[in-house]
């Protein structure tokens, strides 16, 4: 069984009955290994579709939690249960509960720093005072507004007015929380959240592979949300200086927001500025300023470093890339594709209106990037299979499109693997419009394939 990762949270969803006889069949050693390599800041086991479990049934997952925590220092636990199940888990592990319990996946996401929507009004209650405090601090740290009910009576009274709160939290327990640096993507900027005292541990908690992948896929602006940083020592200072120097090779910018220098040596700031790091007081100073965003590179991808560039060997694999893409879109839309033209040139998009785009990079034995330009209607149709209903919500369509392009990337990786070509794929990136895409790839040369799906034009572009 494999976890499905969305918004930084990996979720296992076993079904039916969990006992000592079957639990080990749900998770193989390979599954555990794969889980530890996931790019997630939280790993959860959902009990939504489990009707019966005993301690032996949960033990295999608790062992998984321990391994993942030891290796990745991320939040682990169970979610999606009722009061009875919550009490049972507490009874089973009362003496050694290092994992967390979140009543629902939605509640878990409030505690995840990858959660995009902040400033939620949250009523919470736990009969354990220290838990109430811990939850309030975590939620506050994540930008929410927690309202703590000191007694059950008070909680019940407040909770009866459901409309007053975005979320109501009960039957939740915080074990050891994640120490990984949380990551979220806003527009075309990557935001890392750092907090407390920054020391040598930053090297362990910062996901350097994710950062490199983001550079490879074309992200050029990296913002450290440092409102909650108290101070940093020389090791952390060196880490950020090196990060900025290496980012400069990609023409990328590192920015710190909200960093308070009262407890940080002034010389650190000067040296970090010399290394190219910029400092801003408020996040909105950057995110709401489109001109500044453009200047900082949030929509630019110039001067990409690539040790191995797309060449004849990449182009000879073109049928594989096209097959992978076409079969995935065919699968998702249940329609047939017709290849119309193939040209080696700069990307040319004749019809820009009503189109959205997505890209995914690959690097390893060969490097490159696949760009897909969809008519919005095809994108909607392809996403219907994943969403389960028609939608006009552009953000939801783009999110789902990213999942679809992830499938394409996975398929490319597999097809190339069949030819003994080893590549890794980067995170998918989406573009609201063709103009957004062209800002990144306008002058790039590559192979363009125009395809038609049920008479809708669809564009595939392979570039370095």
């Amino acid at each position: 069984m494999r976890a499905i990762v969305k918004n930084g949270i990996g979720v296992f969803t076993p079904q039916g009955f969990l006992d000592g006889n079957n639990s080990s069949t749900f998770l193989s050693i390979e599954d555990i290994e794969v889980t530890s390599q996931l790019n997630a800041d939280t790993i959860l086991v959902s009990l939504k579709k489990v009707i019966f479990f005993n301690k032996n049934g949960l033990d295999i997952f608790v062992k998984l939690f321990k391994k993942i925590r030891e290796k990745n220092s991320i939040t682990v636990g169970f979610c999606d249960y009722d009061k009875k199940k919550f009490q049972a888990i507490n009874r089973f592990y009362s003496n050694d509960m290092s994992f967390s319990l979140f009543k629902t996946l939605e509640i878990a996401s409030l505690f995840s720093q990858s959660f995009k929507n902040q400033q939620k009004n949250i009523l919470l209650y736990s009969d354990d005072k220290s838990q109430r405090t811990a939850m309030a601090i975590e939620l506050h740290d994540n930008g929410h507004n927690p309202i703590v009910a000191p007694t059950l009576e008070d909680f019940n009274e407040k909770a009866s007015n459901k409309a007053a709160y975005d979320y109501i939290i009960e039957y939740t327990f915080l074990g050891q929380m994640g120490q990984k640096i949380a990551t979220r993507v806003t527009g075309n900027a990557i935001i890392y959240t750092v907090s407390a005292f920054l020391d040598t541990d930053i090297g362990n908690t910062f996901n350097i592979a994710y950062h490199h992948n983001s550079l490879n896929v074309g992200f050029r602006l990296f913002i450290f949300d440092a409102y909650k940083v108290i101070s940093m020592n020389i090791h952390a200072f060196n880490f950020f200086s090196k990060l900025s120097t290496s980012a400069a090779e990609y023409n990328a910018t590192i920015v710190f927001v909200g960093l308070d220098f009262t407890k940080i040596p002034e010389s650190f700031k000067e040296n970090m500025e010399d290394a190219g790091i910029l400092f801003y007081e408020q996040m909105d100073d950057i995110l709401q300023n489109k001109e500044l965003l453009k200047e900082l590179g949030a929509s630019s991808a110039s001067n990409v470093i690539n040790k191995r560039v797309i060449d004849k060997s990449t182009v000879t694999k073109l049928p594989n890339f096209i097959d992978a893409t076409v079969s995935t879109i065919e699968m998702m839309t249940n329609s047939k594709a017709v290849k119309e033209t193939v040209e080696v040139n700069n990307i040319e998009i004749k019809e820009k209106e009503g189109r959205i785009a997505s890209s995914i990079g690959f690097y390893g034995d060969i490097d490159g990037m696949v760009i897909l330009v969809f008519p919005t209607e095809i994108a909607k149709k392809a996403c219907e299979l994943l969403i389960g209903e028609k939608t006009d919500d552009v953000e939801l369509i783009l999110d789902t499109l990213a999942e679809l392009v992830n499938i394409v990337g996975g398929k490319i990786k597999m097809l190339l693997g069949d030819h003994k070509i080893s590549v890794n794929i980067t995170l998918p990136r989406t573009y609201h419009s063709v103009d957004d895409l062209l800002e990144v790839v306008e002058n790039k040369k590559g192979v363009q394939v125009d395809l038609a799906f049920d008479n809708d034009k669809f564009l595939f572009f392979l570039t370095k």
Partner: protein
């Protein structure tokens, strides 16, 4: 990935129920056990299936039983009819399973386990109805249909399920506006099975509830029984555990009764 055309092709290829089976079932319906066993004996494959089935440890017979009339006598009318329907289903099952890690033996075991436990449930519910007893035989058809439709697109499905939790039934519904259970209903019609069998089966999907309260209740028991069986290590390893979605809320009101009956602790 899968089109309505693929589904139509699959349904077209379903062989009609062989005459021997039709006659056997008709005689069993008329409570003519001896005549039914004589007709059944004419089909060597059916005879072999029945012998193999009844001599499984699940049935608990000390000595090997080889005579069909003896087998029908031991099983009785309802269980004999169930066994003949179970055999009919094996005619549809693939020689080699590709989507699920099953084989002839493990599939028989699933059929036998479901049949025996369904019998136990119906006894508990005081239901004595030959057709309702046979309803369980169509349940594994949903697995056969999944195998037939999805085996050639296994990699695509794995990729899809790698990014989004989707079961085969949902994928089929979203792609073709039909479900595994609707296809099973067509199989039942083609094989002239009593309509109540397909009705209960659809209710057992957990997604296509019946307006008939009694059928819906039986559907709940069957849904829970299916996941009780699919939680066995053999079937988790066969990747059957999540081929359809388990609807916990649907069965919550009968769970305590089920757990007592199956002695789950």
């Amino acid at each position: 990935m899968i089109t309505k055309n693929d589904i139509n092709n699959f349904i077209e290829k379903i062989p009609p129920s062989p005459d021997v089976l039709k006659q056997t079932i008709s005689l069993l319906n008329n409570e003519e056990l001896t005549k039914a066993s004589k007709v059944a004996s004419q089909d060597p494959a059916l005879s072999a299936y029945l012998k193999n089935l009844v001599n499984k440890p699940l049935y608990g017979f000390k000595n090997e039983i080889n005579d069909i009339s003896q087998i029908f006598g031991i099983l009785g009318l309802s269980a004999s009819q169930q066994s003949v329907y179970n055999y009919m289903l094996t005619l549809l099952s693939p020689k080699k399973w590709e989507l699920f890690a099953l084989n002839e033996s493990s599939f028989y075991e699933l059929q036998a386990n479901l049949s025996v436990k369904w019998q136990k449930i119906l006894e508990h519910l005081n239901i004595l109805d030959q057709d309702i007893e046979s309803a369980i035989t169509l349940l594994p058809a949903s697995i056969i249909v999944s195998e037939a439709l999805f085996k050639d697109v296994k990699t695509d499905v794995e990729m899809l399920r790698g990014v989004h939790a989707l079961d085969y039934n949902t994928i089929l519904l979203r792609l073709c506006d039909t479900t595994l259970f609707n296809i099973c209903e067509l199989i039942a019609k083609k094989w002239e099975m009593p309509p109540v069998i397909a009705e209960i089966l659809k209710a057992s999907s957990g997604t296509q509830k019946s307006e008939n309260k009694e059928i819906n209740q039986l559907g709940k028991w069957m849904h829970l029984l299916l996941f009780y069986e699919l939680s066995k290590p053999m079937f988790i390893n066969a990747e059957l555990n999540d081929f359809i979605e388990f609807n916990v809320e649907y069965v919550e009101d009968i769970y305590e009764e089920f757990s007592t009956l199956m002695e789950i602790s």
